[in-house]
Amino acid sequence: MVNTKHPWKAWLYLSPAIVLLLIFTLWPIINTVVMAFQEGYSIQQASKGKEFEFGLDNFAYVIEYRGFLTCLKNTILLCVLTVPISTMLALLIAVCLNSIKPLQKFLQTIFFLPYVTNSIAIGMVFAAMFNVVGTVSAKEPIIQTWGIINNIIMFFGGEPVNWINAGSEYWANIFVLTVYIVWNALPFKILVLLGGLQSVNKQYYDAAKIDSTPKWRVFTKITVPLLSPMIAYVVITGFIGGFKEYSSIVGIFGEKMGPPGAMGKPLNTMVGYIYDSISRQQGRASAAALILFGIIFVVTMINLYVSKKKTHY
């Protein structure tokens, strides 16, 4: 228990963590803020002894830059698409998993696999699934070489879609990304929601049975409200993760952040933009990072406000 006689002991035990946090978290954060407000800051020039004026120049540049708007749009779009879909799917799967007895542990493990698999690797697998396998050449019949998804579509008599290859449409790209991100986000959400479900007192369900409650009403009036704290948690962390989306796009499209041959980086995100600028224009990267922080902060505040009103007890 806490030893109030020797408070220095507590600090002693905490010191490794505090030192690490100071060096690797707090100091970089302060540095980021300082850099963001130094106009045109770059490490290369700073090392040559150049002094920078303080101002909002970096922010102005980032906001006015056309590519940044694309990044912002992509990021928000992916967030808005994937968080609700993955949350609802996770809820559905968690409820189903919770209601079956045999194979529950086995299926739980399967659903958890994406969580422990490298997201770049998964991205490459997804790319293969949606991709043209092998080389597309004008001489060979293209139909033979489409990836598994298009094969399935064609099996049911559909037209193959150019998902991610050269000349593919933006919305096809976004669709693939959404599927990938949702799938990747499921395991954690399922885990949290399943844990929540299993801690719900079974007697509520017995009581509902006695009162002849229809299944759907049990779900909407009992399960969801009782799970609401977990749902809120999953949504909030989902949004935070969503705004930091980056590796999934690299996984599928590579560093070009778009289908081959596309101009610029049509699928770039906020974090992608930060990475782009970090090698040359650290001032702008810092400004972009602060803007991203601001957005996540505001969204999380809204989330918390809404969930406080909507979650029970």
Binding site: N201, I210, D211, P225
Partner: protein, 364 residues
């Protein structure tokens, strides 16, 4: 609606899967709850009384046997279709709903021809709330209520859909002593007012005695005795029932019958003509003793408790199976607290003789 239980048996599979034989929770339970009566299932923990209740509710399926509500066979009906009200031991109120929403919940589930207009639902919920006297708490959440209030809400929720049978699982066990007294009278009143056939489960014999029309005493899944509370108290069928009912508990002595006389130790305490000679247990209710200087039963006096109207004398006897012998006598009798021994004669109708081997009652 009378509830008829025929040869009801519940066997749970053994935890150890290698053992095929299951655990018998309730065995061959046959009993009819008369229409509109309040029946208490009484027994120590693990005697299968809650399992019996859950089988009536349908939450547990009977392994064998039949359940009838009136003339309808409900054995294979799911709990949804049985139309029972059940009050859980820890109430199971939905924590995210207000009291009103909790009470309304069963009504909102009604479908088809039973569906009620909204105003009628609210009216019925308010009626139920009034009946259990919580009509001022309707906007609260369950965690803003005391245990007793939550209990009433649970009863209101069970009553609002006018169940065919009301089931209460240990309804008073989560309440403090004073509230328990008050609430059990409350349950009695509500049951009388609504006339709903009610079954409740308790391990507290005082609780069962005080409010039940009928008591079913159970032990290890088997019915021991069924009857009105007073009848069971006055006429226990075996040693277990005699010991289980009554506060203070019955005094049990080792004894034997010889030549039509009942002996405790060396002393012949009672005439028991017609009983064959054998070792027995003698159960004597605390009120079955009379102070008598020439009485046959001698005990070592160890203490006196004055309780106003009555005096409780605590003594020891080497043949007693209880650590001490407790008798209750009218305080008009003067007891010499300094005396070493106390002598009793016995009231024959408060003395029960049980076979030492089978522990069954021997009548005389």
């Amino acid at each position: 609606m009378k509830v008829e239980l025929q040869n009801l048996t519940k066997i749970f599979p053994n935890r150890n899967k290698k053992i095929k034989e299951g655990v018998v929770a309730v065995s061959d339970f046959t009993f009819t709850v008369p229409d509109g009566k309040l029946v208490g299932l009484l027994g120590p923990s693990g005697c299968g009384k809650s399992t019996t209740l859950y089988m009536i509710s349908g939450l547990q399926q009977a392994t064998s046997g039949k359940i009838f509500f009136g003339d309808e066979d409900v054995t294979d009906l799911s709990p949804e279709n049985r139309g029972v009200g059940l009050v859980f031991q820890n109430y199971a109120l939905y924590p995210h709903l207000t009291v009103m929403q909790n009470i309304l919940f069963p009504l909102q589930n009604l479908k088809g021809k039973d569906k009620l207009p909204k105003e009628e639902m609210i009216q019925r919920a308010e009626e139920a709330a009034r009946l259990v006297q919580i009509d001022e708490l309707l906007d609260r959440k369950p965690n803003e209520l005391s245990g007793g209030q939550q209990q009433r809400v649970a009863i209101a929720r069970a009553l609002v859909k006018m169940p065919r049978v009301l089931l209460l699982d240990e309804p008073l066990s989560n309440l403090d002593a004073r509230l328990r007294l008050q609430t059990r009278e409350e349950i009695r009143r509500i049951q009388k007012e609504t006339g709903i056939t009610t079954v409740f489960v308790t391990h507290d014999q005082e609780e069962a005695m005080s409010i039940s029309d009928m008591i079913v005493v159970m032990k290890l899944g088997v019915i021991q005795q069924v009857g009105e509370p007073q009848e069971i108290y006055d006429n226990p069928i075996n040693l277990f029932v005699a010991k289980f009912l009554g506060t203070p508990p019955i005094n049990v002595f080792r004894g034997c019958v010889q030549n039509g006389k009942l002996y405790i130790g060396e002393e012949a305490v009672l005439d028991v003509a017609g009983v064959e000679d054998k070792p027995v247990y003698v159960g004597i209710r605390p009120e079955g003793f009379t102070l008598d200087e020439n009485g046959p039963l001698t005990c070592k006096l160890s203490g006196i408790e004055v309780m106003g109207r009555d005096v409780s004398i605590i003594s020891t006897n080497e043949n007693s199976t209880n650590p001490s012998v407790r008798s209750i006598i009218n305080s008009d009798n003067k007891v010499d607290a300094t005396a070493e021994t106390v002598k009793y004669s016995l009231k024959p109708h408060k003395v029960f003789v049980f076979d030492a081997e089978t522990e069954e009652r021997i009548y005389f």
